[in-house]
Symmetry: C3
């Protein structure tokens, strides 16, 4: 039985049935990761997986996160940037946070030294791609790879899913569209750096209530060197960097460099978010003493 | 190591160990999709997957949705109908929305030209099966395939999971029980059609707050032809059909045929559900002008 | 392409690339189950899966539950105990409910006759392991298998994920650390048994609002024999054990032995939890009449 969807949802038969499994991978496995704002209450993610497996039955699909708040491109970008390096080389990262679906925004396919990225051109890829070498960018335009009919409301299913699936089977990168030079950049909250302090803000809050700032380890190391410093958030002062949550004491927030290399405010056995009543955008200041 | 569960949870050893992998599929892969009302806070879905993989280690299990509201057969049916065609031919669709578990309701196994469906006989399959040809229906009765002991409270684990797993390995369809002629039909909200208007209702609301009605594209095309029309929902009037969400303007609801072919009321960059304070069952009227 | 993460996240190359796929399993499949308190709003679970697949591309990863309340070791333990037997022999069960991450608590690897278990030494494994034979316990200390750099805040990614992945590829159990004799025991709520009554409590509430008590079938059978009894919870009295939810009538709670062998209070087509306003810890009494 050739990989195929029923006749009313058409794949390109020649492509789907006739294409050899060209990409060589250990065990013939291609990992496709998914980040979306589709949630898990509907069938959107499941349908995307069905389409992918119709084209490449050997794909290994891994959910990174589907609970990005609807249209929250910044969070999608943050999750991608923090995650993609933990996947096997050759993985294909599909991000569908796509408030502009059906508008003139482009659909992107990007190849780096180690990975493929597929997403709408709304900035969601830009933090992950920053500093990557051997970047090749394609605007996805080759309709041969699209599901037919192709909706203007669900490109995840009709364009991105078949594109990533054919690509994962070894189809040549350049066939999916035309080379372009640049992608949309996401405007990220910037850290203000003076000689006396670093002023950042909370950009992500995880399920434990840990408050992740936009101050990263490199920035912090460059700033501190061997100076003494304090960290200020809301009305609290933190005197030092801890190494693990377990160093914290009851109802005393701590600061540490978290596992993704950001300065994070946390509360051992509790939620710093609830305790400090801090929201995204809350200021975090690190000042020399 | 033969596929096996520990000794206190017994599979039929002869079946599990001795059965050849008969079903031929590209890559030896069988896709099993899952729709349940089990949620993701408990271990129900994980245990079902454990049982399936104990019998068929090569099964590819895809979650369509587990967040169907407890006992909400109508939503389970809607999600199945909207999803099943996007899976590879030969896929097995398991639906466990089963308020009657342990009662006299039957357990069904249905074969169509392209798919298998497994579910309790409570109507959840009927919208998906409507109009399908070469329908063969079996009441699952062959206890050889059940997990032992077989509970009356979790047929998903003890009956449906092993049945779908053995079937996915190529076990003959007719062995699972006795042929029956018909299944329970789900009573669906009907669209009222007059010469002047179509009166439908909202039957599904997705995570974006898009309001999906029971008026489908075919119905709408047949009704409109080249007439002019307006769409009414709550106290709002919509003058035309859009093609994508991005055609909408700020705080102005739009109507479109969605990616699953239903008339949908949406709000670009927002939630039509919240904005219109519309619930399931809310009336949607399309009238000629 | 050898399984590998990018250069800044280092696996032990010799181990990752050079190790033969030693463990023989039907279809070459290793099932790894996951129970965590990571939720699904962040990228923690996805990143763990990425790391596992980087090392063993053939691993089959099954989510049992990620919605354990943060730091709720008791629920993690209950879910593991109720689930692990439904997985194929040889499966590897990874549990990351780890409030003490980065503290002095040990990381455990346990081998039983049929399974492997990997978890922090905080008691989360003890109910599942109770009564298991041929128990071998290792404290995970071999840093060769860790991701480098190894954080003190995310052992799930940096220690547990690579350990379970290498183990699933057939790496010898004894190589991961040093043998130890015992693990931390979880203090579980005990059932009080007198000649007249059994007094237990609600230890788990599922998504349907079913109230699961710590009174199990064996305890109950031993106590009841052929005596008559009543069950008391909150202000309600239940006169008998039912076999299925469908035996219940409108707004009348029922009691049954559930599919995991615990005495459970339920409400047919409704939530016993909401109806009885019962929480975890609520007393359930079974008394002879």
């Amino acid at each position: 039985m050739s990989p195929a969807l029923p006749d009313n949802i058409r794949l390109n038969k020649k492509l789907a049935g006739g294409m050899a499994y060209k990409r060589k991978r250990k065990g013939g496995v291609s990992v496709i990761s998914l980040i979306t704002d589709f949630g898990q209450n509907d069938n959107f993610v499941g349908v995307i997986k069905g389409v992918i497996l119709s084209i490449n039955p050997n794909a290994k699909i891994v959910d990174i996160c589907h609970e990005v708040k609807p249209h929250d491109i910044l969070t999608g970008a943050f999750l991608l940037k923090s995650s993609f390096k933990y996947f096997p080389k050759g993985s294909l990262h599909l991000v569908v946070v796509d408030p502009g679906v059906g508008s003139e925004r482009k659909n992107l396919l990007v190849k780096t030294k180690d990975y493929f990225f597929i997403a709408p051109d709304n900035g969601v890829l830009s933090p992950a791609l920053k500093g990557q070498v051997s970047l090749k960018i394609i605007e996805i335009t080759n309709k041969n790879y699209f599901l037919k009919p192709t909706s203007d409301t669900f490109h995840g299913r009709d364009i991105f899913a078949p594109t990533v699936a054919y690509l994962s089977k070894g189809e040549d990168f350049s066939k999916f569209g035309k080379r372009i030079k640049s992608i949309k950049e996401l405007r990220l909250p910037q850290v203000k750096i003076t000689s006396k302090d670093l002023i950042g803000e909370i950009i992500y809050i995880d399920r434990f209530g840990n408050l992740v700032s936009n101050i990263d380890k490199e920035m912090l190391d460059n700033f501190i060197k061997d100076k003494k410093f304090r960290i200020y958030i809301k009305d609290k002062t933190i005197e030092k960097l801890s190494h693990s949550y377990s160093e914290g004491t009851y109802l005393k927030p701590l600061a540490l460099i978290d596992s993704f290399n950001y300065l994070e405010i946390a509360l051992n056995w509790g939620s710093a978010c609830n305790y400090l009543k801090a929201k995204k955008g809350a200021e975090v200041m690190l000042a020399v003493t």
